[in-house]
């Protein structure tokens, strides 16, 4: 790992000031993705801005019909949160399946969402639940936030502050994990919120995406059988040594079926 300057600001404003002044500065939350990348020298930041000293980024609260999760909230905290378990149990379940226990004790929702790894879990929940991304400067709809592999709408110097999840009537998540790496091969998060059905697929393509044929099928008939009849085209699916595009396309339908069954 190349050496860097280390900063530990205590407010979002101070963090933004450091990040805006230097385009080669990188924020660090739990570091579970950034540190392995730095070890491989895939990234050479001039400075690393540790967000763990910023109290306003931490915590989970229920605000009317929303659950608001601060960017620095760890996966273990979401998994064990009484507020999340009561309002969106499937989100707590998703968090409890990220990485392994030690990773969940460091990794954060803000880090995962702003990194937008194609195989990450959270992006599917953010899109399917139609969450709002709150940043240091604005509010971004889930549909506008995830733009491609490891790419989001965040501008340089802009910091993810919180994610607001509307509380759904129904929500379900299912994923197929690579047996060795445990990363998602294909996952599906299905949700019905205020009567609107959304289906978000993660792991299978370069970026999380909405499966609109499945949304239409579930809007007409909320049942595993309804999505079982929808075939995902293999065109844009990832293809690698772990699985062909055709295999992943097949998994999308299987995972969506399981997610609907889990949602009940």
């Amino acid at each position: 790992m190349y050496d860097f300057e280390y900063h530990k600001p205590t407010s979002v404003a101070d963090a933004v000031k450091i990040l805006s002044a230097d385009s080669d500065a990188r924020p660090i939350s739990g570091g579970q993705t950034l540190l392995p990348a730095l070890k491989h020298r895939l990234n050479k930041p001039t400075s690393v801005v540790d967000l763990s000293g910023i109290a306003e980024l931490k915590g989970i609260k229920r605000d009317g019909n929303k659950i608001v999760i601060g960017a620095m909230t760890r996966h273990a905290d979401v998994a064990n949160s009484p507020e999340v378990k009561a309002a969106i149990p499937m989100l707590a379940m998703l968090a409890s399946g990220i990485g392994d226990p030690a990773v969940r004790n460091r990794g954060t929702i803000g880090g995962s969402v702003s990194n937008n790894d194609p195989a990450a879990d959270y992006p599917s929940a953010v899109v399917a639940l139609n969450a709002t991304i709150v940043t240091s400067g604005r509010r971004i709809a889930a549909d506008d936030f995830f733009q491609g592999m490891f790419t989001t709408a965040l501008e340089p110097g802009e910091l993810l502050v919180a994610v607001e999840f509307p509380i759904p009537e129904k929500a379900g998540y299912a994923k197929m994990r690579n047996p060795a790496s445990r990363y998602v091969m294909a996952g599906a998060f299905v949700a019905k919120t205020g009567g609107e059905v959304r289906v978000a697929i993660n792991g299978a393509a370069a970026c999380v995406f909405r499966q609109k044929d499945m949304e239409a099928a579930l809007s007409a008939n909320w049942s595993p059988a309804a999505v079982a009849a929808v075939k995902q085209p293999a065109d844009d699916m990832n293809s690698d040594i772990h699985g062909s595009a055709e295999y992943r396309a097949h998994l999308v339908t299987v995972m969506a079926k399981r997610a609907v069954a889990a949602a009940g």
Partner: protein
């Protein structure tokens, strides 16, 4: 050079480190606590697991500076000063839960965190799932799972001896 102040196994240290110094490098190279191992160095194998403020973390994927003000427990901090082993260590010995021993410090640290966070008790399946972030390449986990099952009964005061917790398969 930046400084970090942290408590390791009850003793407070202030150490000069580079910003890029990992927690495991601080423990092994600066404090000479070499019980914490580096296996994969990619946060997969769990040989480097220590407890930080009561949570198991991978010390190869944590900067030393991120441990500022933290209380860290390593494998060296488990036994009592008179040498009496922690029930989890004793259970690993009793059930022969190791072969080469390389993964053992991380296994023990993860296992203690797992048991402490599940006072209601863990099934054999839950123990296996809880060890997801720790790889052993010799014993195939079987005796490790048995040891943790027995240790949880002692740690939660339900048994005075390291009796098998789950029926043989």
């Amino acid at each position: 050079m930046p400084q970090v102040t942290l408590t390791v196994n009850g003793k407070t240290h202030t150490v000069e480190v580079e910003a890029r110094t990992l927690l495991v490098e601080l423990l092994r190279e600066k404090l000479r606590l070499t019980g914490t191992h580096v296996g994969c160095d990619t946060s997969q194998c769990g040989a480097c697991v220590v407890q930080m403020n009561g949570d198991s973390v991978k010390s190869c994927t944590t900067l030393a500076l991120q441990a500022e003000g933290a209380s860290v427990t390593t494998i060296e901090g488990l036994a009592k000063p008179d040498g009496t082993l922690h029930p989890m260590q004793e259970a690993f010995r009793e059930y022969h839960a190791l072969q080469c021993g390389f993964c053992t410090p991380g296994m023990v640290m993860s296992a203690i965190d797992l048991v402490e966070k599940h006072p209601q008790g863990l099934s054999e399946h839950e123990i296996r799932e809880g060890l997801e972030g720790n790889l052993c390449r010799c014993t195939g986990y079987h005796n490790i799972v048995k040891a943790i099952g027995a240790a949880q009964e002692v740690m939660h005061g339900r048994s005075a001896t390291l009796a098998p917790a789950h029926a043989a398969e």
